[in-house]
């Protein structure tokens, strides 16, 4: 645990001009996070769109029914199942991979934040981000247990 008094007087995060390439400041981290989020959303949307076009091409003339909740088939309910389904060339599987990429984007952001806080030598926030990361991974991979 550290309190503000641990830091030398007058040496806050804003000391960006100090040439220390090993340490990032918050502004640099914010730039990278911005790019990461943008790239993740773009990739996810592209895969979803491609899967969507293929799906509509094949099934567009059928009739939808979402009135009654049946739940998705087992293949589309887990990360592994979805990946296998998509690799078999199943169109709904490809869309679902796009959606998984989207879910992965904020998770990747948290992973990156953990790394960035580690580089900033901010142990408290490394711990906090790891807690959030654990919750996210639990939901995605073991969510069926709860």
């Amino acid at each position: 645990m550290s309190s503000p008094s641990d830091r030398p007087q007058g040496a806050p995060d804003t000391q960006a001009s100090a040439p220390d390439p090993g340490r990032w400041n918050d502004t640099q981290v914010e730039q990278i996070i911005g790019n990461l989020l943008r790239a993740g959303v773009f990739l996810a949307a592209t895969v979803t769109f491609i899967g969507g076009v293929l799906y509509l091409w094949r099934y567009g003339a059928l009739h939808p029914d979402y009135r009654l909740f049946r739940g998705e088939p087992a293949e589309l309910r887990s990360v592994g199942g979805t990946l296998r389904f998509a690799l078999e060339g199943r169109r709904r599987g490809i869309i679902q991979v796009g959606i998984l990429l989207l879910i992965a984007t904020p998770i990747a952001r948290v992973v990156f934040s953990t790394y960035a806080f580690a580089r900033e030598r901010d142990r408290l926030y490394v711990g906090l981000t790891l807690v959030v990361l654990a919750i996210l991974l639990y939901s995605l991979f073991w969510g069926h247990i709860g």
Binding site: I33, T48, L76, R77, G143
Partner: protein, 278 residues
């Protein structure tokens, strides 16, 4: 109606929701579930699944811009995400054990409250809060760009804000929305964080909060690719366009119209929930 027509209509409706959501700052999620259930007669669980996914897309897309402008406070976001992700897990778990009618009623109340919050006038108050020991220990205090240069601020009432964030997470997981209104309430009103910082940090947090329930939604079979595809693409394009237009658009009348729409949808959700039709 064929899947092709259904998809096209859904994409258009989601586009409009995303556009209005971005222009008014309320997010598209709050109108998506009513749109899907009331207009397209989609089961509320599928609707929540599609909405939740689109919330991740818009939050991440918009957060990319805000984070780079230096408004959002990453430490505040990260710290409060512990509360929202725990809440989201609880809410998503709860969703499976309560009736869809009850979900519709909670949804209606949440909508009404969001409409109320958004209709209140907003004034950026001067920042002269005294420092708070816990906030300082967590290094939550920060600064943000203003026309007069960087302005520092102190964060207050951390436990109160943290608790309200848990509630925001529960609502997000239960209803498949971003619950940005409650998040902003926690930061702006309880923790006394400047409004601009509160809204952008809330946006930044929404993606992670929604991702926490998304895994559970996925394993329960709530996320249907055929339904989520047009919704998420429509909302994403709408909200990106909305964010661009925001710079040159007078939002006050639009916000009033949108609040009215939300109010009407809220009443409809409440009615359908109470009469057991949803």
């Amino acid at each position: 109606m064929t899947i092709l027509t259904f998809t096209a209509l859904l994409a258009f409706g989601s586009f409009a929701a995303g556009l209005l959501g971005a222009l008014t700052g309320l997010g598209g999620g709050v109108v998506l579930v009513p749109l899907l259930t009331l207009l397209f007669h989609v089961d509320i669980r599928y609707a929540a699944g599609a909405s939740l996914v689109s919330v991740i897309a818009t939050s991440s897309g918009a957060a990319a811009a805000y984070v780079r402008e230096g408004y959002s406070n990453i430490r505040i976001g990260m710290f409060l995400e512990i509360a929202t992700t725990f809440g989201a897990l609880a809410g998503a778990a709860l969703a499976a054990h309560v009736s869809t009618s009850l979900i519709a009623v909670v949804f209606g109340i949440t909508l009404l409250y969001s409409a109320y919050l958004s209709s209140r006038p907003r004034t950026e108050r001067p920042v002269n809060e005294p420092p708070d020991a816990l906030a300082a220990r967590l290094r939550l205090d920060g600064d943000y760009p203003t026309p007069e240069g960087k302005l520092g601020y102190h964060v207050r009432h951390v436990p109160g804000g943290f608790s309200l964030m848990f509630v925001a997470g529960v609502l997000s997981g239960l209803l498949g929305i971003g619950s940005g209104a409650v998040k902003v309430l926690a930061m702006d009103q309880v923790m006394r964080i400047p409004f601009k910082v509160s809204t952008t940090t809330s946006n930044f947090m929404i993606g992670v909060t929604a991702a926490a329930s998304a895994g559970i939604y996925l394993s329960r079979g709530y996320i249907d690719p055929g339904l989520a595809m047009p919704v998420l693409l429509g909302v994403l394009v709408g909200s990106l366009l909305g964010a661009k237009l925001l710079v040159h658009t007078q939002v006050r009348p639009l916000r009033a119209v949108f609040s009215l729409v939300i109010f009407a949808l809220a009443v409809e959700m409440l009615y359908n929930g109470l009469t057991g039709r949803l």
